[in-house]
Symmetry: C2
Subunit: 344 residues, 2 copies
Amino acid sequence: MGRKAGPAGALPQRRPTMNDVAARAGVGLKTVSRVVNGESVRPATAELVHAAIAELGYRRNDSARLLRQGTTATIGLLQDDVADPFYSVLARAVEEVVIGRDHLLLTASTGGDARRARDLVTVFCARRVDGLIIVPPAGADLSYLQVEIDAGIRAVFVDRPPQGVTADAVLADNVGGTREGIAHLIAHGHRRIAFLGDRGDLFTAQERLRGYREALAAEGIPYDAALVRLGEPDGEALEAALRSMRSQASPPTAVFTGNGPLSVALIRVLSRWPARPAHVGFDDFELADCLSPGVSVVAQSPAAMGRTAAQMLFQRLTGDEGPAQRVLIETTLIPRGSGEVPPG
Amino acid sequence: MGRKAGPAGALPQRRPTMNDVAARAGVGLKTVSRVVNGESVRPATAELVHAAIAELGYRRNDSARLLRQGTTATIGLLQDDVADPFYSVLARAVEEVVIGRDHLLLTASTGGDARRARDLVTVFCARRVDGLIIVPPAGADLSYLQVEIDAGIRAVFVDRPPQGVTADAVLADNVGGTREGIAHLIAHGHRRIAFLGDRGDLFTAQERLRGYREALAAEGIPYDAALVRLGEPDGEALEAALRSMRSQASPPTAVFTGNGPLSVALIRVLSRWPARPAHVGFDDFELADCLSPGVSVVAQSPAAMGRTAAQMLFQRLTGDEGPAQRVLIETTLIPRGSGEVPPG
DNA sequence: TTGAAAGCGCTAACAG
DNA sequence: CTGTTAGCGCTTTCAA
């Protein structure tokens, strides 16, 4: 009782403050502060304070504390969509580092919308997060961030580099990984390899396409635009593209998909198809090994990317003023069957 | 230049405050506050202030603002692991609601560790989050939360109900969903149905087991403990359990798995097995439809759970003092083939 | 319409 | 060892 004071509404719920504790214990405010923060205080006095704290149910307000200290001990994480496995694994890794450093993590998903990203960045900055870890939306101009960075908010970019601002970035080895994947298909006898990539305005899609071209060039295989399709992982569009490729004079015998969702979409389409081309996908995904055949992939390491980004951020926060870095995280080719099928 | 002032270190980076703006504009502090907050100010004066704001690059510090206002406009989300698809989808839904209400979301993963959960709750509360959305670790006594709730921090539980404290909870219809799944198998002729559930100290595992028993009882099928195995989704342990079940006089013709990871683990095991029992899993997962046969599941709706929990929380934050509620989110049976296989 | 003063809850900088 | 006074950056009186 007391808390539910009838229709008149709940009590004001004012929590006891250090002042209240000080008054209750009959000591000065600063003494309470010392006790709470474990600084040296005469045991007898400390006892008094502890008693008052217990009686009042006092808990220090860290928001106030941090305001005074001029920090928020908070990092903001901004990405396309936490529900996407790639990002959720990345987020978990970031979380781990952030909490290990006694900070807290604010998270938000942009849905890939540049406008929303900007709004969220603004909100995070208004809260004065100590640092920002950002997967920037495709093609977003981030020059608005420069003023925040100049004002002291550190930022590290993941998965895609920033445009319009100079800052650290942690990226997958998109070119190298794709080269390896394509070379693998070529090594298994394929020369007509389709490339299904994500939207062309995405950095990762561009880079992976570049890796594709480089791998072909390295083997003297001509690049054929008719085998390339860039766009979102839409099943129907994918199927149409595939159909048109198949009707060519020289149809593809293998397909490379540029990310997880595209791989999954392709698998859905192929499951209804007669002959199956060889397939290698960029980015690993759950159950890739349980399909028949298992799906060979170029695995990224979202956890390593998140961890690295967070660590770089804290390095900046602890005084590293060196020039902006760009770190590449290695990929790993995992053969599981689908990529080792010989040309039909 | 200026920012990188050589080895001496970066400049103090003090951001301009309202005071600075006031001084620069030659007006009072409160006038700046009014302008920044869009309150009525004489246009000419406002112009002066805006100019000063632009020149100084001033941005309001929301942390300070919120301290004064006695709120943090922040919600804390605590769950086992954001990297788990179930939780990441739930998190995304929570995010959406929270940001739609002009709040921010702090997230942290407990790894299912009760001790860590407690620490994180404490940290969140010390920051004075307005509310908490929690997936409580198995068997964790949350009575320590009572004092925080009494002090005004609202809490809503998701997926698992709280122990040791009375609060709102949003749960899946574990019993009903499982009953439906088991009934489905029975309808397809199965009478020997194995149940592979998660650790027995997990609320969801208990409830789903209960649904299993009720479904059997409803059809007059005797419960056989030899067909039940509870434990973490460990492939080897699972295989051993299955092997021992198969060697029984009357081996199971169907298997029900109690969550996504268990379903995946089972699929891995079965992929190396000769005969395949029928299979229905609780909780849907990516590519379940692409396996052969497709995996029939009792789908939960983590997005609905997260959304509902967040909405309930805001209802509490806006004055709802009614008794604690428990909301059940419906499940949906999705037949895809594996659950419609007749007994061997 | 504007501004001065007080204060959110805490810590930093000095005294005693 | 302890307490007093400021002050973090803002909003909230309340008076001019």
